[in-house]
C-alpha cells in the first residue's frame, strides 16, 4: 500500500501583493455565493506613519489542522481529517449547532444564516479543493497566485523548503514557521516578515486545543448521558404514572377494551 503523503499549503506573506486572485479563483471553483467567501484578507494591512510605512496581507482560510478542533467539537461527526491533509465536512450531516465555530482557534468555519434547517449546508469553509487535488491539480487559490505567495505540496518537503528559506534569508523573515507546531501542527504553513499577530493569526499553543477540549468533552458525554438517563427515567415515570392514572379513571367510567394511543 503506497504511503499517503500529507499535503500542505505554504503561504509567504512577503510575496503576497493582496491582488485577490486567490479569492476570485476559490469563489468560481467552489461556486461560492456572491455574498460569501472562503478566503479573506486578514491582518493589519497598512502600518506606520507617512513616509515610514509597511503593508502586510494574509490569505486567510482553513488551516487544516492535524488535530482539528472543529472535528472534535462536532456532535454529529460531520467533519473528518483526510490522511492526505484536508479537513473536510459533510454538509448533509450538519445540524447547524455551530460548535465548530466556537471550537476553531482560528475562527474559520462560518455559518450561513441565510439558509434554514431544511436546506442543509450551514457551515462553510475551505476544503483544500479536494475535487482538484484528487486529480493531481493544485487548489484553485494556489494554482493562480501570480506571485507564488501560495504554494502547495507535501508537508515534509514544504517544511524543509520553509526552514531553508529561514536559514538563507534571516533578515527577511521572522524565524518561525507558523503552523509547524501550532495547535498540534496544521496543513497551512506561513512565513512572514511581520509578527504573526499582525497577520491576524492567533497565538495558539503547540498542544492542540483539541486535547484540552477533549478532556472537557470527555466529561461532557457521560454528563449528558447521565442527565439523559435521569430525565428519561423521570419522563418514563411520569408517563407510567399518567397512564396508570388514565387507566384507573377509565376503569371507573366504563370497563372497555383499551385502545393503543401513541404520543
Amino acid at each position: 500500500m503506497p504511503e499517503i503523503k500529507d499535503k500542505t499549503f505554504l503561504f509567504d506573506a512577503t510575496r503576497c501583493i493582496d491582488c485577490r486572485a486567490c479569492m476570485v479563483a476559490c469563489s468560481v471553483e467552489n461556486k461560492i455565493p456572491m455574498n460569501k467567501t472562503r478566503i479573506w484578507v486578514a491582518g493589519v494591512g497598512l502600518k506606520g506613519e507617512y513616509p515610514n510605512l509597511e503593508r502586510t496581507s494574509m490569505v486567510y482560510h482553513c488551516m487544516h489542522c492535524n488535530e482539528p478542533d472543529c472535528l472534535s467539537a462536532c456532535p454529529v461527526g460531520a467533519y473528518s481529517k483526510r490522511a492526505d491533509g484536508p479537513v473536510i465536512y459533510d454538509s448533509k450531516k450538519c445540524i447547524g449547532c455551530r460548535y465548530c465555530m466556537n471550537a476553531c482557534p482560528f475562527g474559520v468555519p462560518h455559518f450561513d444564516y441565510d439558509k434554514g434547517l431544511i436546506d442543509g449546508a450551514f457551515i462553510d469553509k475551505c476544503t483544500m479543493c479536494t475535487q482538484r487535488i484528487d486529480i493531481g491539480l493544485k487548489p484553485a487559490c494556489v494554482a493562480t497566485c501570480p506571485t507564488d505567495a501560495l504554494m502547495f505540496g507535501e508537508r515534509d518537503e514544504l517544511l524543509n523548503y520553509a526552514h531553508n528559506r529561514l536559514v538563507a534569508q534571516p533578515v527577511r523573515y521572522l524565524n518561525h514557521v507558523y503552523g509547524e507546531n501550532e495547535n498540534g501542527g496544521t496543513s497551512y504553513l506561513i512565513l512572514s516578515h511581520a509578527p504573526f499577530g499582525e497577520l491576524g493569526l492567533p497565538a495558539v499553543p503547540s498542544r492542540p486545543v483539541k486535547e484540552v477540549s477533549e478532556e472537557v468533552m470527555g466529561f461532557t458525554i457521560p454528563f449528558a448521558l447521565g442527565w439523559g438517563a435521569v430525565l428519561t427515567s423521570l419522563a418514563a415515570g411520569v408517563h407510567i404514572y399518567n397512564q396508570k392514572k388514565e387507566a384507573d379513571a377509565k376503569k371507573l367510567e366504563a370497563p372497555e377494551p383499551q385502545t393503543e394511543e401513541t404520543k
Binding site: 510575496r15 501583493i17 493582496d18 491582488c19 485577490r20 486572485a21 479569492m23 476570485v24 479563483a25 469563489s27 468560481v28 471553483e29 461556486k31 456572491m34 467567501t37 497598512l46 506606520g48 506613519e49 507617512y50 513616509p51 510605512l53 509597511e54 503593508r55 484553485a140 494554482a143 493562480t144 497566485c145 501570480p146 506571485t147 507564488d148 534569508q169
Partner: protein, 744 residues
C-alpha cells in the same frame, strides 16, 4: 416564474435571472415601440451545437461536453493564455495556460473573474436602437439586419453630405483592431481615436525617437537593480511581468519605486521614494548627471550603441542631486547613492520606462531621460531587448484592394500639429476638442467599438457635449457601457469566451482566441460585424472572408496548418528562429540609440532632455492622482460581480494629517472640485499618500443605468480632469489637475 418582460440570462448557479432592459422602460413602452424581436430570448439550452461539436471532434470535450479548451484572456490588453473548463457546455472555471508566455499557468483576479463578464446579467444580447432622448436610456430591441442597415445608412448619409472625414472611428487595443482599421481606412476617414494618448503616448514617442521602437521588451532574469517610475506592477498586473518582478524581488534584487503613493508595489520595494508629482524628470536628470560626472557609464555601450553623448554630457552639469533634491523632495545623498548603485549593478540594471508617466506635460522628457539612463549603463541585451512585433509577415491575410486616398486633415492634429505621434495612436482628447470647436471642420458621426470615451476622456462634461454635436453614434460592446448609453445604436458583441478573433503572435508562436461556448443571445464577433457593415457600405471587397473560421484559415494558409490543429493546441509554432537579440537594429536617423535626438532637434524641441517646471497646485489645492487597482481594468470591469465582490470601496485618499488639518474624518462625504467639475465621494484618510496629493481609483462613477452592479458606486475622475496635452507626444497630462476638497 419569470415574466415575459426583458431578457433571461443564465446565472452562475444555472437558474434563470430575469433582467429588465436598461433604464426605466416599461414593457408597455417596449412593446409599443418594439421591433422584430420583442420578447424574451431564452437561453435554455447550454449545449452549444457548433462550438461543442468542433471541440469534441478535436478531442477537447468529452461526450458530455466537458473538458478544457485553450483560448486567450481579454480582461486587459496583456492577453494571457487560458484554459477554459467547460462542463455541460458552460464555462465553469478559467485556468492560466502553462504554455502561454504571458500567463505561465496563472491568471490575475480579473482573468479569474472573466467568465462573469460572459455571464453578466447586464449583457446586451440583441442589437438595440435608441427610442428616447440621448442619455435617457430608452432603447428597443432590433434584429441585426435592421440595426446594421441603420448604422450603414447613417454612415453613408454622413459620407455623402459632409465627406468621410466627418465620421469619427475609435477603438481600444484589441485583436480585431486591424479589421476595425480596415473599416475606417476603406470608408476613407482619417479620424481615428485610440486610448493611447490617455495612457502612455509619452513612453511610446520617447522610445521611438531614442530607440526607434515603441516599447523595448524587458527581461528580469538577471537583474540586480530596478527603478520603477509610473509602473505599479503589483496593482496594474500584467501577469507574466508581475510574476517576473516578484521572482526578482524574491531573489533579492533591489527595487526603487518612485510614487507619491505607497502603492502595493512600493510596499514590496526595497526603497520607496515619495516623490513630488511631476518631478520624476528632475530625479532622472540628476541620476544622469551623477553617472556622467562620475564617469560611471558604460564606455563600450556609449561608444558602440549611442549617438550624441557629448551634446548630452554638456547639457547635464546643472542637474546636480542638490538641485534635484529641492525639486523632488528626495535628499541629494539618496539620489547620488541610487545613481551609483544603479551604475554599479549595470548592465543588470533596469530603469523601467513605465506606462503611467504621461501625467504631466514634461512626461515626454521624463521618458526620454529614462531611455537615456538605460542606454548609458549599457543594459541592452541584458535587461532590454527588441520587442517581438505582433505584426508578422508569416501569417496570411484576405486579399483586399488599395484604400482610397484621404486628403482631409485629422481632427486630432496628427501629424500637422503633433508630428511625432504615430497615426495609429493619435491624440484622442484633441479629437474631442475639435468636435466641440468645429475646426478645422465639423464631425457628425462617431463609430465606437469596445471603448468608453464617456469615462476615459478627461473633462466628461465636454465629452457629453461632443456627443450632442453628433448626428449619429453607434457603439459595439458586450454591455451597455456609458458611451453606449448615449448612442443611437448599440451592437452586441460576443464576449471573448464566445468568439473568434484574429491570431495573436507572441514570440515564436501564434495563439488563437476561440469560442469555448456558443455565443449567448445574438452576440456576434467583431470580425462578423465589421464585414457585415463593410458590405452594407459597399466595401465588401475589403472583407474577403466568408466568416471567422475562413478568416483564420486564410491567416494559417502559408503555414500549412489546419484550423483544427490550432484549435486543439491553442497555438501554432511559427517558422523561423524567432527574434534575434544579438544584432540590435535601432530604427533612428543615426541607426544608434539617440541620446541627442536629431528628430526632436529638427522639430524644434529640446534634443537632449531639459528640465521643465510643471505647474503645482495653488495653496489650498491638491494634486489629483489616479492609478490602478488589481481588481479592475480601466472602465470596463466594474460591473463584473466577482470583481465587485472583492474590490475595495472607491474613496478619495487623503493623508491623515491633511485630513485632520481640514477637519475631515475617514468616511466623511466630501466635495472634490476642479476647474472642470466636481464630484461627491467618501474620504479615505490614509498614511499612504503625500500630504499634498489626493487619489481617486479610476473607472467608477458610471452614468449608464444599464450597468446595474457598477451604477451608483464611487465617482469618476473624468468629471475632474482638465484637458492638457503634451505638445510632443500628445499625451494627456492626467495628474496636472488640481482640486479642492471640502466637507459636505
Amino acid at each position: 416564474m419569470p415574466s415575459m418582460r426583458g431578457v433571461f440570462l443564465p446565472r452562475m448557479d444555472g437558474n434563470y435571472l430575469e433582467i429588465v432592459m436598461p433604464s426605466t422602460i416599461s414593457r408597455r413602452d417596449f412593446l409599443k415601440v418594439g421591433g422584430a424581436t420583442v420578447g424574451a430570448v431564452l437561453i435554455g439550452q447550454f449545449i452549444p451545437p457548433q462550438v461543442a461539436e468542433a471541440a469534441r471532434v478535436n478531442g477537447l470535450l468529452d461526450a458530455t461536453n466537458s473538458g478544457y479548451i485553450p483560448s486567450m484572456c481579454e480582461m486587459c490588453v496583456w492577453r494571457c493564455g487560458l484554459l477554459a473548463k467547460v462542463d455541460g457546455g458552460r464555462v465553469v472555471k478559467l485556468e492560466g495556460n502553462p504554455e502561454h508566455p504571458h500567463s505561465n499557468g496563472k491568471l490575475c483576479p480579473r482573468g479569474q473573474s472573466g467568465l462573469m463578464n460572459t455571464y453578466d446579467p447586464d449583457r446586451v444580447l440583441t442589437p438595440l436602437i435608441r427610442v428616447g432622448k440621448r442619455g435617457e436610456g430608452l432603447f428597443r430591441k432590433a434584429a441585426w439586419e435592421e440595426a446594421l442597415d441603420l448604422v450603414a445608412q447613417n454612415m453613408l448619409d454622413i459620407q455623402q453630405k459632409y465627406g468621410p472625414e466627418a465620421m469619427l472611428f475609435s477603438t481600444t487595443h484589441c485583436l480585431s483592431q486591424f479589421q476595425f482599421e480596415n473599416l475606417l481606412n476603406a470608408y476613407g476617414s482619417p479620424n481615428y481615436g485610440t486610448q493611447r494618448s490617455l495612457c502612455f503616448n509619452a513612453m511610446i514617442v520617447a522610445n521611438l525617437v531614442t530607440y526607434g521602437m515603441e516599447e523595448p521588451a524587458r527581461k528580469y532574469d538577471d537583474l540586480k537593480y530596478i527603478i520603477l517610475t509610473g509602473r505599479n506592477l503589483m496593482e496594474a498586473i500584467s501577469t507574466s511581468e508581475t510574476s517576473a518582478l516578484s521572482q526578482a524581488i524574491d531573489r533579492g534584487v533591489k527595487v526603487v519605486t518612485l510614487d507619491p503613493r505607497f502603492t502595493k508595489t512600493a510596499a514590496k520595494s526595497s526603497e520607496w521614494l515619495a516623490i513630488r508629482p511631476g518631478t520624476d524628470l528632475a530625479f532622472h536628470l540628476a541620476l544622469i548627471n551623477v553617472i556622467i560626472s562620475e564617469r560611471l557609464y558604460s564606455f563600450r555601450s556609449v561608444n558602440n550603441n549611442t549617438s550624441g553623448f557629448d551634446k548630452l554630457a554638456s547639457a547635464m552639469p546643472q542637474y546636480t542631486p542638490e538641485w534635484a533634491a529641492a525639486i523632488t523632495d528626495i535628499p541629494a545623498d539618496n539620489i547620488r547613492r541610487i545613481a551609483r548603485e544603479f551604475a554599479h549593478a549595470a548592465p543588470y540594471a533596469l530603469a523601467h520606462n513605465g506606462w503611467r508617466t504621461s501625467n504631466f506635460v514634461n512626461s515626454f522628457q521624463t521618458e526620454r531621460a529614462i531611455a537615456i539612463l538605460n542606454a548609458l549603463v549599457g543594459n541592452w541585451g541584458v535587461a532590454m531587448f527588441p520587442a517581438s512585433g505582433e505584426e508578422s509577415g508569416v501569417l496570411g491575410a484576405p486579399p483586399q484592394p488599395a484604400y482610397p486616398r484621404v486628403s482631409a486633415q485629422r481632427l486630432d492634429g496628427v501629424p500637422w500639429k503633433y508630428p511625432f505621434v504615430p497615426l495609429k495612436i493619435g491624440v484622442f482628447q484633441e479629437m474631442r476638442e475639435a468636435v466641440l470647436s468645429g475646426t478645422p471642420y465639423q464631425a457628425h458621426g462617431w463609430f465606437i467599438s469596445r471603448q468608453n470615451p464617456a469615462m476615459s476622456l478627461p473633462d466628461r462634461g465636454r465629452t457629453l457635449e461632443a456627443f450632442g454635436k453628433m448626428d449619429f453614434i453607434a457603439t459595439i460592446d458586450i454591455l451597455m457601457n456609458d458611451t453606449a448609453w448615449f448612442s443611437d445604436v448599440v451592437l452586441p458583441e460576443a464576449s471573448y469566451l464566445e468568439r473568434y478573433d484574429p491570431l495573436n503572435i507572441v514570440g515564436s508562436k501564434a495563439f488563437i482566441r476561440q469560442p469555448v461556448i456558443e455565443a449567448q443571445g445574438e452576440g456576434k464577433s467583431s470580425l462578423w460585424i465589421y464585414k457585415e457593415l463593410g458590405t452594407r457600405l459597399g466595401l465588401g471587397d475589403f472583407f474577403q472572408y466568408a466568416d471567422e473560421e475562413d478568416y483564420l484559415k486564410q491567416q494559417l494558409a502559408p503555414l500549412g496548418v489546419s484550423l483544427d490543429q490550432v484549435r486543439q493546441k491553442g497555438y501554432v509554432e511559427l517558422p523561423g528562429e524567432g527574434p534575434d537579440f544579438s544584432e540590435p537594429a535601432w530604427n533612428t536617423p543615426s541607426s544608434k540609440i539617440e541620446l541627442f535626438s536629431t528628430t526632436l532637434d529638427q522639430g524644434g524641441f529640446a534634443a537632449v532632455p531639459q528640465w521643465e517646471e510643471p505647474p503645482a497646485p495653488p495653496a489650498g489645492q491638491f494634486y489629483l492622482l489616479t492609478g490602478k487597482v488589481a481588481q479592475s481594468t480601466q472602465f470596463g470591469t466594474q460591473n463584473n460581480q466577482l470583481l465587485h465582490k472583492y474590490s475595495d470601496e472607491p474613496r478619495l485618499w487623503m493623508n491623515v494629517k491633511t485630513a485632520q488639518t481640514l477637519g475631515l474624518a475617514d468616511y466623511d462625504l466630501v466635495e472634490v472640485a476642479s476647474s472642470a467639475g466636481s464630484i461627491h465621494i467618501k474620504l479615505e484618510a490614509t498614511q499612504a499618500i503625500r500630504p499634498d496629493c489626493v487619489y481617486l481609483t479610476p473607472g467608477y462613477g458610471h452614468l449608464s443605468k444599464g450597468l446595474t452592479t457598477a451604477y451608483g458606486i464611487g465617482a469618476s475622475d473624468s468629471d475632474l480632469h482638465v484637458t492638457y496635452t503634451d505638445p510632443i507626444s500628445g499625451g494627456q497630462a492626467l495628474s496636472q489637475t488640481f482640486v479642492t476638497v471640502k466637507k459636505i
